[in-house]
Amino acid sequence: MRSKFIHRFALAVCFTALLAVFCAAPLLHSQGGEPQYFAIRGAKVFPVSGPPIENAIIVIARGLITAIGKDIAIPPEAWVVDGKGLTVYPGLVDSFTDVGIPVAPTASGEGGPRRSQEGARGPEDRPASTPWRSAADEVSLSDKRIETWRSGGFTTVVSAPKGGIFPGQAAVLDLAGERAGDLVVKSPVAIPVVFQTSGGFGGGFPSSIMGVLAYVHQVWLDMDWSIKAQATYEKNLRSSARPRYDRTEAALAEALEDHALVLIPANNSIQIRRAIELVDRWSVKGAIYGGQMAYEVAPEIAAKKLSVLVNLKWPEAEKDADPEDKPSLRMLRFRDRAPSSPAALAKAGVRFAFYSGGITAPKDALKAAKKSIDAGLAPDAALRALTLSAAEIFGVADRLGSLESGKIANLVVTDGDLFEEKTKIKMVFVDGHKFEVHEPEKPKDPPKGDISGKWKLSYTTPDGPEDSTADFAMDKDGTISGTVTSKRGTASVITGYLSVDKFSFTINILLEGSPADVTFSGTFDGTSLKGSISVQGFSLDFTGVKPTNNSTAAATVLRGAP
């Protein structure tokens, strides 16, 4: 009975999905249809907050985990996932990134620097400071990395705007939602500081690391002064001149009042020791980011009770480095020992979490975490650094970071140990929304011909004939990337290949807040495409030709593109 129901239900979902691709998708969103109740049955579960549970049941309802354990009743409305052979982890957290925040707007604003166009003449010009920028305000669903990281098991990120000494305020974001605001879990959670110089002659103050430090010292002093001066002024309006408003001071004061952590860059021992002193001098709640030489100074960090965000992008020799450029022994030791830093931090009792630090593929981030396991970190400590510890550091452990009843239903379901390279992520839950993860298909044989370039794709939906355009690039091995543009928008090819004359490519569109894969497959005869489009079981025939310059049809389609 159940399976028949599910089948019919799925069929309905697929049909709407198909319509949504090519028809009026926004209209269908409001009609609902995505299941809100799930139960994963029979999986091995790592709650992180407690010991692993074999053969467990997790119940998810309306975005939250409502029950977890061995003998749990599965509510009748739940969509049951057979978890046999699967492992469930809390959704992974990238503790410091800018995923979700696509472009940095230029820094300017009222109450800000006096002369934003020219080089700053001193701290009073507030160089490279935009602490009022907020990740929460700048989240955009158009950032393709949201899906990349979600598919890699990262349900949550701590994202901050980029650029400058005080780039802005970081927020905890969940990586799924219909609207940008759905992603925001908590904001602000941190004020990153970047020791960035103006770039030298003519670039204005500060042009040196000591200048940056002096500037930041002065900003904190100014902020304190403003708070006190304003309070004094409010009490005695007629006895003194009005303190001036300064946007930098106001934004920082407000964020610190919200208990935002000040993130201080410190990768090597010198920088880490300096950061320890800076936390005292600034008298802020601080944490270190970088931390790759913590193997030398972990006990000192522990003594200060500072948390560390460890950069997973381990130091490596520069690719194609000048062979004459011999690295120093100090550098070689650093490359060798950096991945042992997490183990040293764990041993010293320091709370730490991992961040991607410029790694672009989530799989590589997990590989890098595995390196620290190989260098002595206990696997459960590595898992904790990717989940609960991150949540604790940023003050959201009350709502996510572990698999517990009442917490946000952020889960990663795999077919094995998270840190094993061959392990595949099968599905991801973000705020209780289920995302299937499809392994990208690989071309078996070398391609025959070249599919790259612009295409016009034609097909007939139940509503009548329709066109869309595709723009492909193809690697030598047949891997296809690019975009497909229909009347309602553009989607990137998430996986695609051409193997001899067989092609397949998949795009992903958001449907009911939940993405649906649309796969085009068929044969390529060197000049045209012929095959079928499939959306979760449904299929349609389509043809593709290269648009000619004088083709009016192509022109129409192009005009229709956003």
């Binding site: 701290p123 200048g211 010198i270 450029d325 070689l332 690989k442």
Partner: protein, 512 residues
Amino acid sequence: VKSPSRFFINAKNLRFLSLLNLCFLYLPLAVAATPPDAPSVILIQNATIFTVSHGTIEHGSILIKDGKIAEVGQTINAPKDAKVIDGAGQFVIPGIIDCHSHIAAESINEGSVSVSSIVNMAEILNPEDIDIYRDLAGGVTSANILHGSANSIGGQTLVIKLRWGLPAAKLPFEGALPGIKFALGENPKRSNFSVPGQPRRYPSTRMGVEETIRGAFSEARDYKKAWEDYNKRFTAGEKSLIPPRRDLRLEPLVEVLEGKRYVHSHCYREDEILMLLRVAKEFGFKVRTFQHVLEGYKVADELAAAGVGASTFSDWWAYKVEAYDAIPYNAALMTRRGVVVSINSDDAEEATHLNQEAAKSMKFGGLSHDEALKMVTINPAMQLGIEKRVGTIDVGKDADLAIYNRDPLSAYAVVQKTMIDGRVYFDRQRDIAERSELEKEKKTLIDKFKKAAEKKSEDKKPDATVPIGQKPAEKIPEVKKPEEKKPEEKPKPPQSSGTDSSAAAVRPGGVL
């Protein structure tokens, strides 16, 4: 002939700025092994001791207890628990003090503004700078770490001890008064450093330099007064006052006015030297040292009368317009007129043979052996206000010593051991012994990475197995400290047998 480029402190400016542009999180490049613990009692026996304060003791002994000199004399019986260093045929001098150094720092100039008193060298010390170790190998034990000379008023400075292997927090010379760098003449007016297309920074004349300094001190005087007024009214019971805003740029200048911070001023010409003395008099502060002060011999009487120290070069001249009147007799002439004179390095390499630089004043100007030695020991100590702690070999002073195999004023003298607080931070024999081990470790690591890289590239083949959309891991570009361009091939130090024949391996710290 020395290339002028090395004299331009602001060539360092360029170098460091570009370095910082590349990456402000640059990684240390040297290996600083923790120095061996010092035995609490050490006896140096049978050495020639140049005390600097009270003559030379042939076949003398120095007893060190807990890092301090406990006894100096002809014969001292070794206490039971003493570690004895046989000084037969060796020469001991007080550790050399370099009054003008730019080592051990992550940045040198905050060149963006004409008054950069807000920055502090103490905050960006780099204890892993290999130049610390190389200076130690030249007998240097303390150094005055100065901001560069790009600005009329530069950053805050400090004196450090070269405690190689210890963290930055252990470097500052305890109790030494902090300083601030001033600069006069061509550098702060940016005569030689304009960038095409960039507006020239004020000031661009010596008049402007004077005005900049006067302007800054006028502000500092007002700032000081604002705080004094506030404190007075606050103590008088006015509680609803808004205090002045703290200004980290002016606070060090107030300290100068209050005599709590030394002024070390870079200068060349007599006119600018006299100018700063006038400005200092007007604002009521003292100049502690004039640095370089190559025309100091023209105004030696004025310097002596003002009680200002002069820290100069041995024999560098004519490398820029304002150095045309420099003469190698400068140090001797000033000394003869009663100025406390030191010879400084201003350069990491030069600092490794300050003993020879001092010796040149015996040829140029006929100073005595002891007078020459003083110029790199007690004189810089007096200039930096640390003469009660270091600079001579006397009972009660810090056991900061350099032991040579020959008279240190000989060109053949090579440092055997350098000690700070009774702890051996450089030992030539230890350095030589450790080289092969360090080379081995280096080779092992290089091989290991090479193997890993080969394995990785094998795993990557064929390319088709790389998951779609997954880029190969990007590498972090490592920032390399650009190798300083040496103007000329330096004579290679004598090579010990059995070690690698490359110059780098023989140089102290070359392996690292």
